[in-house]
């Protein structure tokens, strides 16, 4: 037994040693002073054509490494938590509902790309944030309706946020919850913007009285409960994106069967920034330049379903026709969101679970 025991110990020590050695080995982490790799922390939705990435690597000589790290909230919190030993050089995917938290925590260093498109200025943060976070893209979170369902049932579709509380639309609306879903959070902020600090809670109480259903994520609101989703849903009104309708063009058809109510939208802007303490600052700058370049901006709609901040970039044909942006989205200042978010969420949770 003693022999057996020792043998086992040795075997496991070897396994452990290989483990540790493997970890420190060549292709592993960004190590101190590594200036050939650019590590990018992104949200889970990151997607870009391989050819563009290869082009960036070939022209700059940097190797890109991506770490998708949850939704905008998780990305922001991870960046804040790892302030002392940053896990990446550059972060992409912090949105305007979380931007102030990252800026205030001092985890970002200043950088403004030299050839920032003129139209991007409209999305820049105010104050300190202006040179810490570069706007890359935006998307409108809007109430979507299943036009085909309303036509079949001979009911006039809703036209505004207020309509959703009317008896005619009882039990027809489904939305992901604010604490567990970033479009859900955007919708909560939209209602705050539309009804004000004094009115949004009453609006949500009216929504709940009118049979609004709350799911944990966007995918099961759209995929299970929405009538035009993939499931056998029973609710023809859903919270989704302004870019969702083109996905409902039937096979062989030419028009979507759903549409977005453009007066219900909140605009989510996504930013990129260089992490304080990055050991490849030059590489991080090059990557942000890449994100605002014409080629990358043009790839955004097809890959991440968002609109480029550069308005000189042509949109795909279907987007031109069916994915309209809100002419005047509901706005709330990022600093207000940062200051009030927790209280809103707590009040929201009380109203919706009561």
């Amino acid at each position: 037994m003693v022999k057996y025991r020792r043998w086992c110990g040795v075997a496991l020590a070897v396994v452990a040693a290989i483990g540790v050695a493997g970890c420190g080995g060549g292709d592993s982490a960004r190590t101190d002073g590594d200036t050939t790799t650019v590590t990018v922390m992104t949200h889970d939705s990151w997607s870009a054509p391989d050819a563009l990435i290869a082009g960036f690597e070939a022209s700059t000589g940097y190797k890109l490494r991506f770490q998708s790290s949850g939704d905008a909230g998780e990305v922001t919190n991870k960046v804040v938590l790892t302030k002392d030993a940053p896990v990446a050089d550059v972060v992409y995917g912090i949105d305007n509902t979380f931007a102030t938290r990252a800026v205030d925590a001092g985890v970002l260093s200043a950088y403004v790309p030299g050839d920032l498109p003129a139209s991007a200025a409209g999305f820049a943060l105010e104050g300190d944030g202006a040179d810490r976070l570069t706007p890359i893209d935006y998307g409108d979170v809007c109430v979507n309706i299943d036009d085909a369902w309303f036509a079949d049932h001979g009911i006039a579709p809703p036209r505004s946020l207020d309509d959703l509380t009317k008896p005619a639309y009882r039990g027809l609306f489904v939305t992901p919850g604010a604490p567990t879903s970033s479009p859900g959070m955007a919708f909560l902020v939209a209602t705050v913007g539309a009804f004000g600090e004094s009115g949004w809670q009453d609006y949500w109480r009216a929504l709940m009285r009118n049979g609004t259903k709350i799911t944990s994520g966007w995918s099961d609101a759209y995929g299970v409960d929405f009538t035009a989703g993939e499931g056998n849903g029973t609710r023809p009104i859903v919270l989704s994106y302004a870019s969702s309708p083109p996905f409902t063009i039937p096979k062989g058809g030419s028009r979507p069967t759903t549409s977005a109510l453009l007066n219900t939208c909140f605009r989510q802007v996504e930013y990129a920034g260089v992490l304080e303490g990055s050991d490849n600052v030059a590489g991080a700058h090059a990557f942000i330049d890449f994100l605002v370049s014409r080629e990358f901006q043009a790839s955004l709609p097809e890959n991440m379903y968002v609109f480029p901040v550069d308005d000189a970039v042509a949109l795909p044909r279907l987007w031109e026709r069916f994915a309209k942006v809100a002419p005047s989205p509901i706005t709330v200042a990022p600093s207000t969101i940062a200051a009030r978010r927790d209280e809103w969420l707590k009040a929201w949770a009380d109203i919706t679970s009561g």
């Binding site: 003693v2 483990g19 990151w46 490494r65 567990t180 299970v224 056998n232 996905f247």
Partner: protein, 536 residues
């Protein structure tokens, strides 16, 4: 020998968790405990604690009650298709929670096949989903013990006039008690820390400590509240383990011999067990069928298109690697995780499973035992963020290491391996070892001739289970997996979060592939067991 697993646990679990809790409780260098008062003063948090315990207790009770008859049928009866039944019973455990959540909701939503039950979004639906996932643990753990049970005591009782029911109640169940308690405690831990299921099935209305920790960490970045809740969660888990260790302490006197019972053919006497089994199988199959159906349908028609799409990158480049590449990653990672978990689990089990000669030794061992259960009972969010802020500097800069994912999965699988092996080792009559020693066998020889023959089968079963856990693990994996190296569940999650019918269909097809892969693998392990150890 016990030091290796202890070191593993210390580095990959205790250190990250304590660091994360420390971030919350140590403010400007001083310990700040005021968070406790504030958290406990909240009526909502008290409700959350109550719901966590109630949910875990009810789900554990139901899983155990339904799992026992299934374990009997799958491991004590002989009939064609038994291997399929065994594999089917494990399948739910590895299904990705997001996909199962959606499959369940497709059934239960008002427009679904079972919409008439009105269960969508209710507490009952959460319990049903938890039972769905955890029944495998009971079937597997108890089934393996039942299979190896010496039938002679029962036969003697029967020949003395005991009815089958009396034999079950007075002989079989007491003999299985350690395995049942083991399985139930694992199920309790899984249910007490369930996250994805609870959110998908019930939204935030039935929040648990786990979902609350997630919200406090990920949404509010309120590390103090998260730390208090993490400690609370550990208190709940440790007190439960303490209760269990008290129960386990009662010895049954029933001993395991080397001769395990020959499986019987199903007969009239097994009617009750067979009926429950049929019902449970239907319950397991319903969401899976709903998933298969969705994977085969597109725009109102039947199609294999979603499966053909699996070799592509999804609608609008949703994926960085194809589903098949991810499946290959999953298999590779699962292999490493299985080896790690089985080797470490064996060491722990040998240490824990030996009989104790003094009370002090017994206490020490049960503490050691409980320590390896803890990873199941502590929030994945706390562990994940803990990893991020501890294993980030040389010499242990593991954040982007390919070893991190199998290590994390092994930590999750380890308690299951231990729980499968310990009851078996405990049930070996120590007098067999003593006799061997008296007859001149050394300790190694005693181990080889007494322990190994009995341990061999459960060890393979445990390895199979560890592999299943690793294949299905999502929480820790999604936190740690690299973008160029994702596992199948991670890819499925990514697909499901994207717009587009094609991506949703691919997610469903990917779920079916994952389930099939698991069933095939488990089937292979079953065959290996029969061939390798048919003589015992």
């Amino acid at each position: 020998m016990a030091l290796v697993p202890l070191l593993f646990l210390a580095v990959f679990f205790v250190w990250p968790v304590l660091t994360m809790i420390g971030r919350g409780l140590i403010v400007d260098g001083a310990l700040d405990l005021s968070g406790f008062g504030e958290v406990f003063a909240s009526a909502r948090i008290r409700r959350v604690i109550w719901l966590t315990v109630a949910q875990a207790v009810v789900a554990t009770g139901v899983s155990t009650a339904l799992g026992l008859p299934l374990a009997f049928v799958a491991y004590r009866l002989r009939f064609p298709g038994r291997a399929v039944l065994r594999a089917l019973a494990v399948m739910p455990f590895v299904m990705p929670t997001v996909v199962v959540g959606i499959a369940f909701r497709t059934l239960l939503a008002p427009g679904g096949a079972l919409g008439g039950l009105g269960l969508d979004g209710t507490w009952t639906a959460i319990i049903a989903a938890l039972v769905f996932f955890n029944i495998s643990v009971v079937v597997r753990t108890v089934g393996v013990a039942w299979e190896g049970l010496d039938p002679r005591a029962g036969e003697v009782a029967a020949s003395l006039g005991a009815s089958p029911w009396q034999v079950l109640r007075t002989v079989t169940l007491p003999a299985l008690a350690p395995a049942i308690v083991s399985a139930a405690s694992v199920v309790f831990l899984f249910c007490a820390t369930a996250f994805g299921v609870v959110l998908t099935m019930g939204g935030l209305r039935y929040g648990t400590i786990e979902t609350e920790i997630y919200l406090q960490t990920v949404q509010f970045l309120d590390l103090r509240a998260a730390a208090v809740l993490s400690i609370l969660q550990m208190v709940v888990v440790v007190s439960m383990l303490w209760v269990v260790s008290r129960t386990r302490g009662q010895d049954t006197g029933q001993r395991r011999g080397h001769r395990s019972g020959a499986a019987a053919r199903p007969g009239a006497g097994h009617a009750a067990a067979l009926v429950v089994t049929a019902a449970v199988v239907a319950f397991i199959c319903a969401p899976i069928l709903s998933l298969v159906t969705r994977s085969l349908r597109n725009q109102g028609g039947w199609t294999l298109e979603h499966y053909r799409n699996l070799s592509g990158s999804g609608e609008h480049n949703a994926l960085l690697v194809t589903v098949w590449e991810a499946a290959a990653n999953s298999l590779r990672i699962a292999l490493v995780a299985t080896i790690l978990a089985t080797a470490l689990g064996l060491l722990v089990a040998i240490t824990v499973g030996r009989p104790d000669r003094t009370a002090r030794a017994r206490r020490l061992r049960s503490a050691f035992d409980a320590a390896f259960m803890l990873p199941l009972g502590v929030s994945a969010v706390t562990v994940g963020f803990g990893f991020l802020i501890t294993l980030n500097r040389p010499p242990l800069d593991l954040r982007t290491s390919p070893w991190l994912v199998p290590i994390a999965q092994a930590t999750v699988a380890l308690p299951l391996v231990v729980r499968t092996l310990v009851p078996v080792l405990r049930s070996i009559d120590d007098r067999l070892r003593q006799s061997a020693a008296v007859l001149g066998a050394g300790r190694a020889r005693t181990f080889l001739t007494v322990d190994v023959p009995v341990l061999w089968r459960p060890l393979l079963a445990a390895a199979g289970f560890a592999m299943a856990v690793s294949l299905g693990e999502f929480g820790a994996t999604s936190f740690l997996a690299r973008d160029d190296n994702p596992t199948l569940p991670v890819v499925i999650y990514r697909l499901i979060g994207r717009p587009g019918t094609e991506n949703a269909g691919m997610a469903m097809a990917g779920g079916v592939v994952l389930a099939t892969m698991t069933v095939v693998l488990m089937g292979l392990v079953e065959r290996l067991r029969v061939r390798g150890v048919g003589g015992f």
